[in-house]
């Protein structure tokens, strides 16, 4: 048993050693799986350069220090019959091995300081994106373009729970990616609605804390079109691991077309607010909205998590409908219940309220129309 475990470990260790040697020889563009990405922005490439430079400094120092240590462990062992020396002090040596590291640190620190100053220079941006972290989704707003939307994880529950095969972009895919133009200086302004999140796209070298009540900014010039994926990098609660970031970098004209498409879709949605829906339409859409926006806390069966997230089998979902709408639209301050009025369309809120009042044996039999939600928001 022990032997088998030892053998496995030896193999695993051998594998690690093999990969380390590959790291040393790797073509930098193919080193994504075990090394930092070079990325596609000036900042990310700069950081990659610093990272590799630091890595080689450490390897060099390690070879010298561990080398002396291993030589000594081999030569100066009692079993070889050596007599121990008795030296135990040398001011000259102490000064040397204080001075040389200081010199090396200065050599490391100067390029790092230069990179840092460049990384902080967010002036003269051409596109400004306001990014807001929510538990557990991102909201993007292209400033000055009247385009604003939420981006949710789109990986199906079945893949997470092992009932379906995982697709290659498992947990790194969203319903609505952010689209950005290549070759433009983009400024990311980052904030949060509830707890601290962190917007991180490794290929851009951009990682900024999203802090409720404050903004941070960062920048990127994306040099190549493509799809870039990232994740939230600050523990933000239960579904911290389930709020990915997807950015599609496209040409200027494709980006413009995307903006127009988004605006048209928003206008169409606004028109729908006037429409009267049937119960079945609302219920079907409500189920979809619920699973996307509510099930993370209140669970797919509406039972919530005792002590943390309330059950919908009691309370507002089976009380007066105006109170129910109010909680969904305005949230409950001081708790994890967010104000969905700004996150979901009137149609979506009407649908999800209808769904919650009539699903899982909640037979309230009533429904909400988008216009009711609109009126509620207007204070009527």
């Amino acid at each position: 048993m022990l032997k088998a475990a030892g053998g496995l470990c030896a193999r695993v260790l051998g594998f690690a050693v093999l990969l380390m040697s590959q790291l040393a020889l790797a073509d930098e563009t193919e080193s994504l799986k075990y090394n930092m990405t070079r990325g596609v922005t000036p900042v990310s490439q700069d950081i990659h350069g610093l990272h590799m430079q630091m890595f080689w400094w450490c390897v060099g120092i390690g070879v010298v220090v561990f080398g002396i240590m291993f030589v000594s462990m081999f030569l100066h062992r009692k079993s070889r019959g050596v007599k121990p020396a008795n030296f135990h002090e040398s001011t000259w040596l102490e000064l040397t091995w204080t001075a040389i590291p200081i010199l090396i640190l200065v050599l490391m620190g100067i390029p790092a300081s230069k990179s840092l100053i460049n990384l902080y220079d967010t002036r003269e941006s051409e596109v400004d994106v306001l990014i807001t972290g929510y538990q557990w989704r991102w909201k993007y707003e292209i400033l000055g373009e009247d385009v604003s939307f939420f981006s949710n994880l789109s990986t199906p529950r079945d893949e997470i729970e092992g009932f379906a095969e995982k697709n290659p972009n498992y947990l790194l895919e969203v319903d609505e990616p952010l689209v950005l133009p290549v070759g433009k200086k983009i400024r990311f302004i980052v904030t949060a609605n509830d707890v601290i999140h962190n917007w991180w796209v490794p290929d851009f070298g951009v990682k900024r804390d999203a802090i409720p009540g404050f903004t941070n900014d960062s920048w990127a010039i994306i040099e190549e079109p493509g799809t870039y994926r990232g994740q939230c990098a600050e523990l933000c609660g239960k579904d911290h691991g389930f709020m990915p970031i997807v950015v599609e970098a496209k040409t200027e004209s494709e980006y413009r077309a995307w903006l127009d498409e988004k605006k048209a879709a928003a206008a169409a949605l606004a028109e729908l607010t006037e429409k009267t829906f049937t119960f079945d339409e609302l219920y079907a859409q409500g189920e979809e909205v619920y699973n996307r926006s509510c099930a993370a806390c209140h669970q797919a069966n509406g039972e919530g998590l005792p002590g943390t997230f309330p059950s919908l089998h009691e309370g507002i979902a089976v009380g007066p409908i105006q109170d129910h709408i109010d909680v969904v639209v305005n949230g409950v301050p001081g708790t994890a219940m967010q104000a969905f009025g700004e996150q979901l369309s009137e149609v979506d809120i009407a649908a999800v309220v209808t769904y919650e009042r009539n699903a899982w044996g909640n037979n309230m039999g009533d429904l909400a129309q988008p216009l009711d939600i609109y009126n509620h928001k207007q204070g009527k």
């Binding site: 475990a5 695993v12 260790l13 690690a16 075990y34 090394n35 900042v43 950081i47 990272h51 400094w57 450490c58 390690g62 220090v65 561990f66 100066h76 062992r77 009692k78 135990h88 002090e89 040596l93 102490e94 204080t98 590291p101 200081i102 640190l105 490391m108 790092a112 300081s113 840092l116 100053i117 990384l119 092992g162 498992y170 947990l171 509830d194 707890v195 601290i196 991180w200 070298g205 951009v206 900024r208 804390d209 802090i211 404050f214 990232g230 994740q231 939230c232 600050e234 523990l235 933000c236 609660g237 239960k238 579904d239 911290h240 389930f242 998590l305 002590g307 001081g334 708790t335 994890a336």
Partner: protein, 516 residues
């Protein structure tokens, strides 16, 4: 006139004897080490492959939080206090600790603190789930109700640590044997003296930050809430002003232990004693001015980023001096490789590797990619596991024969070492790769591109855990029986502790020895 211990349970409840209290601290720490280890294995079991298999994300977060809290406050810190209790009086030729009744109290409040913390696992809403760094507002507005119990548990642990630190300072300053000047004290005593000052400086800061949380949660203040004029980043500044010195609290005594063991088995005096003392003091001083390197991505002004980057890099200098001194001590010695020496050599090598990744993390621009990834997890486990855990293990093997009068089983000790050494590296080395490849920390599920590294880490973690069971068995077997140890135990070791019989009598140095 010989005055032995009381009989039965009251011996342990009422004891003011530094050896009894030291033993209780060490056993308590051992128990917490296994508890925290079980939490770690739950984490590694869930991360064995992609997908959610074993635990819910909320429970996963409780496990990462409890693992960190139990290991830091329950395993590492009490183990060092236990070693201090046993060894400091014996190394300075004192009959006991300076404040024996307070010593009893500072131990006995600990089990209550951890009983309270562990009980949160069974409460409605679950245990704290906001990480051991408990950033607001996740730990205030959005926390489970059990957060209040967590706050009071932290208060009790802090009180225990402060009392322990006061006791150690009082003992070292007042109770050294005649002739033992400060610059003749063993390094373990020196490093603990400096650590004790760090504890007194920063534990009140921790108490302050959790009290601010308590106020925000229950009494309507807004220290950490922007809507009320507060600032969530204030939490991080206060927390890390505690947190960074805390890191050195967990490593400085380790430096002391290794500085005792390497000369013994190299049969050569410690190289550069004075520079070791100065380097320890320099590290302690610097630990107060580097806290914001944990916060490079929160949006500090550029001047702040530059200051904290350079100050952090500077720590490499005194730390390097220590490593060079240990290597110089080994150089031209006549080395043997008993279990304590193996753990000490592994300490020097692996702690240095952790130092390298620390230096990389200090480079602020690069930290924008490393921050909150598995690269950071790899870094701090490389400094804490081979740093704190290996040095404590080395210390236990080194002094156990003195404590119980029996030699441990050397073959089993070496087997423990190799299993732990391999397990540790298999667990934590791949985390460098998964982190650089882009895996954030504290996530219960991940994309398949991180799958290989995680599977290897999980296998290593179970191996490391199994190795510790062997350690427990070896310690118990040594206490029960085994070859009798000589008074010196090792070949010509330095220090007053080796001048008393093995096992050390219940009372030692009732009349102070003359120290040359």
């Amino acid at each position: 006139m010989a005055h032995g211990p009381a009989k039965g349970i009251t011996r342990w409840l009422y004891t003011t004897n530094h050896k009894d209290i030291g033993s209780m601290y060490l056993w308590f720490s051992f128990a917490m080490f296994f508890l925290g280890g079980i939490f770690a294995l739950v984490i590694r079991a869930e991360l064995f492959q992609p997908g959610l298999q074993i635990v819910e994300p909320n429970f996963f977060n409780q496990m990462t939080t409890m693992h960190g809290l139990v290991m830091v406050f329950g395993a590492v810190m009490p183990a060092f206090v236990g070693l201090a209790n046993w060894m400091i009086p014996m190394q300075i030729g004192a009959p006991d600790m300076a404040l024996p009744r307070m010593n009893n109290w500072s131990f006995w409040i600990l089990p209550f603190a951890f009983a309270m913390l562990s009980s949160t696992l069974f409460m409605d809403g679950g245990a704290p789930n906001f990480g051991w760094t408990f950033y607001a507002p996740l730990s205030t507005t959005y926390a489970p109700p059990s957060v209040t119990f967590f706050i009071f548990a932290i208060h009790i642990m802090g009180a225990s640590s402060i009392m322990g630190a006061i006791n150690i300072i009082a003992t070292i300053v007042n109770m050294r044997a005649p002739g033992m000047t400060y610059m003749k004290m063993p390094l373990f005593v020196w490093t603990w003296l400096i650590t004790a000052f760090l504890l007194i400086a920063v534990m009140p800061v921790l108490a302050g930050v959790v009290t601010m949380m308590l106020m925000d949660i229950h009494f309507g203040t807004s220290f950490f809430d922007a809507a009320g004029g507060g600032d969530p980043v204030l939490f991080q500044h206060v927390f890390w002003f505690f947190g960074h010195p805390e890191v050195y609290i967990m490593i400085l005594p380790a430096f002391g232990i290794v500085s005792a063991i390497i000369p013994t088995f190299a049969r050569k005096p410690l190289f550069g004693y004075a520079s070791m003392v100065y380097a320890t003091a320099a590290i302690a001083f610097l630990s107060f001015v580097v806290w914001a390197h944990h916060m490079f991505t929160v949006g500090l002004p550029i001047a702040g980023e530059l200051f904290f980057m350079w100050a952090t890099m500077l720590i490499a200098v005194p730390t390097g001096v220590k490593v060079f001194n240990w290597v110089a001590t080994m150089f031209k010695g006549a080395m043997t490789f008993e279990t304590p020496m193996l753990f000490s050599i592994a300490f020097v090598i692996l702690f240095t590797i952790g130092g390298f990744s620390g230096l990389m993390l200090a480079i602020a621009p690069a930290d924008f990619q490393y921050h909150d990834t598995y690269f950071v997890v790899a870094h701090f486990h490389y400094v804490l596991v081979p740093g704190a855990i290996f040095s404590i293990t080395a210390g236990v093997y080194y002094w156990l024969p003195k404590w119980c009068g029996n030699m441990y089983n050397e073959t089993m000790g070496k087997l423990h070492f190799w299993l732990a050494f391999i397990g540790l590296n298999v667990t934590f080395f791949p985390m460098h790769f998964s982190g650089l490849a882009g895996m954030p920390r504290r996530i219960p599920d991940y994309n398949m591109m991180f799958a290989d590294w995680n599977m290897i880490s999980s296998v290593g973690a179970f191996l490391f855990g199994a190795a510790q069971v062997l350690f427990l068995y070896n310690v118990i077997a040594t206490i029960i029986g085994g070859k009798k140890a000589t008074d010196e135990v090792w070949e010509n070791p330095e220090g007053l502790e080796w001048t008393v019989p093995s096992p050390a009598p219940y009372h030692t140095f009732e009349t102070p020895p003359e120290y040359k």
